[in-house]
């Protein structure tokens, strides 16, 4: 799980920046895609990753507790 989320983190962080020049020609609602990703998109993905992780780990912790009992 952690590994999967970390891969996602790596992709949003570095691949989008690496290919920024190629992505710049696409545009979403006025933003060039690479600018949007760097300015807002990637940060929002990070937030989602952390949220996902906290939620999922809580479930895992609970399951583990129930099994123990």
């Amino acid at each position: 799980m952690t590994a999967m989320l970390l891969t996602l983190w790596l992709v949003t962080g570095f691949c989008t920046a690496y290919f920024a020049r190629e992505l710049a020609t696409l545009s979403v609602f006025g933003w060039p895609l690479s600018f949007y990703l760097a300015a807002q998109g990637s940060s929002l993905v990070y937030l989602a990753i952390i949220g996902c992780y906290a939620w999922r780990m809580r479930r895992l912790d609970r399951d583990f507790d129930e099994e123990r009992q």
Partner: protein, 683 residues
């Protein structure tokens, strides 16, 4: 559980009251401004009211209990811990300089946004929950316990970790205190060093009396002020230009318009003319550089002669003064002249450059230059991310929540609250840029808006903004504007046409950002010294009372040393602050992460890895940073000195892994500790 809930509700009520009170304070000041209160008084009121507020929170939550002092009793709810961490994190640099940096550098500046937010993923996934499970007081605590060595107590690891904590935090805290002095002196007109000591007083009352507990509750209040101060001007400006008061959404519409305006300005004949003037000036400096040392002699004589002529002909006092200044400022010797003129040439050349479009990634003359920029961007993002995940004053906050789950949630809230500001910053940069490009550029010199002259006169030696009619056509060209990034956020309210109260509010926000970060950093340093050095290494039998007292005394000492360092206006320190991230990443990150995830990592490996990471990082900085005596020619792969961590981190990781494999595996106690830290917590 019940007690927890009522505690949470009580906190919520307090902060709701506080926010309402603050709003009332703002409204009252706005009314007073209408009645004709002077700007200076508004500045004073803001500064003293907020400082007194922070100090009184400090007094209310004073404590001498160890648990309260070091980790706020481990009962800070996730949301509030998130807010406090966000305030801890948002430093003067984020609040004041980041939007300016984006304004000046366009896409390349976004590396800071990406790096500083991405780091929290690492904090949440790899570090914070495990630190909380471990439940001690400081970061060196964790490292020393984890890398205790066979039967040892991890002395060397602890000392190295303390040293790294202090080096990283100290450069950082000096920059914060410097910013406090700057804001205070600009807005209230008090002397720079008086400003520093006023800020220091509020930091001290707060952290000295209540340690982590007082700091946490002050930081929550500071976060609210930061948020309000940042959002109001941005929303106003956004509504003015796009009719949509949510800047994060609205600036998508403005970006193409800004691009069109940039293209138009790039072709404008007036702009071309001004750029031509700058190129010509650069050529003149080049000619003088080529003719050294003869040109130095002739220039000095010419300056002196001009002064004599002006004096003899009874010219106006202004002319005499300026001629005198020219003689005084003339380089003292040919070497000096070579340096000054080369700088001046570079400056003029830079101003002769055409505009680089704001949204274009990695602009460069050719593919290779653009590639180098991309690599630097990636390296900077990497260093900032890993550095964020290794900053002691941020990680320290993971200890303050009631449970491991709450720690994970609190990192989520931290990033959430940081994003409220960080998503606005690129928007603000675009909005201000659009405003300046479309309103200020093309206006007439006799109708300059008042904020320009106000900010131009704030700092006479290094003007924050200067507009000179280079080609004497009476119209402002973009190339004639030289603007310091730092002025952007501070001047936004006036650019947007808001009353001065909002400017005061923004200054109070900047002050809150600097103070909150300084609080956290000072506590990180003094805790490392008192807990890790004094209690764990010097006198393990010290009573809890004594430990807290020692900690408070050390805090006082560190604060005064930092204030003294800041009052020397150390330009060098400021330029290496961003490098603190590289240092933290190279030294602490490998040891922290491998400590949790690789059971085989041992004491010898940790010592070697931390030394190697630190060594490589410092070597690269010394080698390539011109301020520290290196030169850009020594760069590896064209990576700038600020991203030294891109080499330091792998060096640290590899050394840690290699040395660990060559030496005996850790003993059973350490393995048990790792298993415990990684096991799910009992509820």
């Amino acid at each position: 559980m019940k007690a927890e809930r009522t505690f949470f509700q009580r906190l919520r009520r307090y902060y709701a009251l506080f926010t309402a009170g603050f709003a009332a304070f703002l409204v009252a000041l706005a009314v007073l401004e209408q009645e004709g209160m002077s700007r200076a008084w508004i500045g004073y009121l803001f500064m003293f009211a907020t400082i007194i507020l922070y100090a009184s929170i400090g007094v209310l939550s004073r404590t001498s209990n160890v648990l309260e002092y070091y980790v706020a009793g481990r009962r800070v709810p996730a949301v509030f811990n998130g807010m406090a961490t966000a305030a801890d994190w948002i430093s003067a640099a984020s609040f004041i300089s980041l939007a300016g940096g984006l304004y000046l550098h366009g896409f390349d500046g976004l590396a800071y946004i990406m790096g500083w937010t991405g780091g929290y993923v690492l904090v949440a996934l790899l570090i914070a929950p495990y630190l909380r499970k471990f439940s001690q007081y400081t970061i060196p605590d964790f490292l020393a316990e984890r890398y205790a060595g066979n039967g040892g107590r991890g002395r060397a690891v602890r000392i190295l970790a303390v040293a790294a904590t202090i080096i990283v935090s100290f450069t950082y805290v000096v920059a914060q205190i410097y910013a406090v002095g700057l804001i205070a002196s600009r807005f209230t007109g008090v002397d720079f060093s008086v400003g520093i000591f006023l800020g220091l007083a509020s930091i001290l009352v707060c952290s000295f009396l209540g340690g982590m507990r007082a700091i946490t509750w002050t930081q929550v209040a500071q976060y609210i002020i930061i948020l309000v101060a940042f959002l109001i001007p941005a929303m106003w400006l956004s509504a003015k230009h796009s009719g949509n008061p949510i800047p994060q959404v609205a600036y998508g519409k403005l970006l193409p318009r800004l691009g069109a305006r940039e293209a138009q300005l790039n072709r404008d004949p007036g702009e071309l003319e001004v750029r031509g003037v700058f190129r010509q000036r650069a050529d003149e400096y080049q000619a003088r550089l080529d003719a050294l040392p003869a040109s130095w002699d002739s220039g000095r004589i010419a300056a002196q002669r001009k002064l004599d002529i002006v004096k003899q002909h009874g010219a106006s006092l202004v002319d005499i003064r300026s001629a005198e200044r020219a003689v005084l400022a003339y380089p003292k010797n040919p070497d000096d002249a070579a340096r000054l003129w080369a700088d001046a040439r570079a400056q003029n050349l830079a101003r002769a450059e055409p505009i680089t479009p704001h949204a274009t990634p990695f602009p460069g003359a050719d593919r290779a230059q653009s590639d180098a920029k991309r690599n630097n961007f990636l390296a900077l993002v990497f260093c900032l991310m890993l550095g964020t995940a290794a900053l002691p004053h941020i990680l320290m906050r993971a200890y303050t929540t009631p449970s491991v789950h709450e720690t994970r949630v609190s990192v989520f809230w931290t990033l959430f609250f940081i994003l409220l500001i960080y998503l606005t910053i690129p928007a603000l940069a675009v909005l201000v840029k659009y405003d300046i490009y479309s309103v200020l550029v093309g206006s007439r010199y006799d109708q300059l808006p008042s904020w320009v002259s106000y900010w131009a006169n704030v700092d006479k030696v290094n003007p924050l903004i200067s507009i000179v009619d280079v080609n004497h056509d009476g119209i402002v060209q973009l190339a004639e504007i030289a603007i310091d990034g730092d002025v952007l956020v501070l001047a936004t309210p006036e650019i947007a046409g808001l009353p001065y109260v909002i400017s005061g509010l923004v200054a109070a926000g900047g002050l809150a950002a600097a103070l909150s970060t300084a609080d956290g950093l000072l506590l990180a340093i003094s805790n490392a010294l008192s807990h890790d050095v004094y209690y764990k290494l010097v006198d393990p039998t010290a009573s809890t009372q004594k430990r807290v007292t020692i900690s408070k005394l050390l805090l006082l000492a560190v604060a005064f040393i930092a204030a003294y360092a800041a009052s020397q206006k150390p330009a060098d320190i400021l330029s290496v602050v961003a490098a603190a991230f590289s240092l933290a990443a190279s030294t602490l990150f490998p040891a922290l992460v491998l400590g949790v995830f690789w059971k085989r990592a041992n004491y010898q490996g940790a010592v070697a890895g931390m030394l190697a990471g630190f060594g490589v990082c410092v070597y690269y900085m010394l080698h390539t940073n011109p301020v520290l005596g290196g030169s850009a020619a020594g760069q590896w792969l064209h990576i700038e000195a600020i991203s030294a961590g891109i080499f330091g981190v792998p060096a640290g990781l590899l050394t840690l892994a290699g040395v660990s494999l060559l030496t005996p595996a850790p003993d059973r106690r350490t393995r048990a500790l790792i298993a415990y830290v990684r096991a799910p917590e009992q509820q």
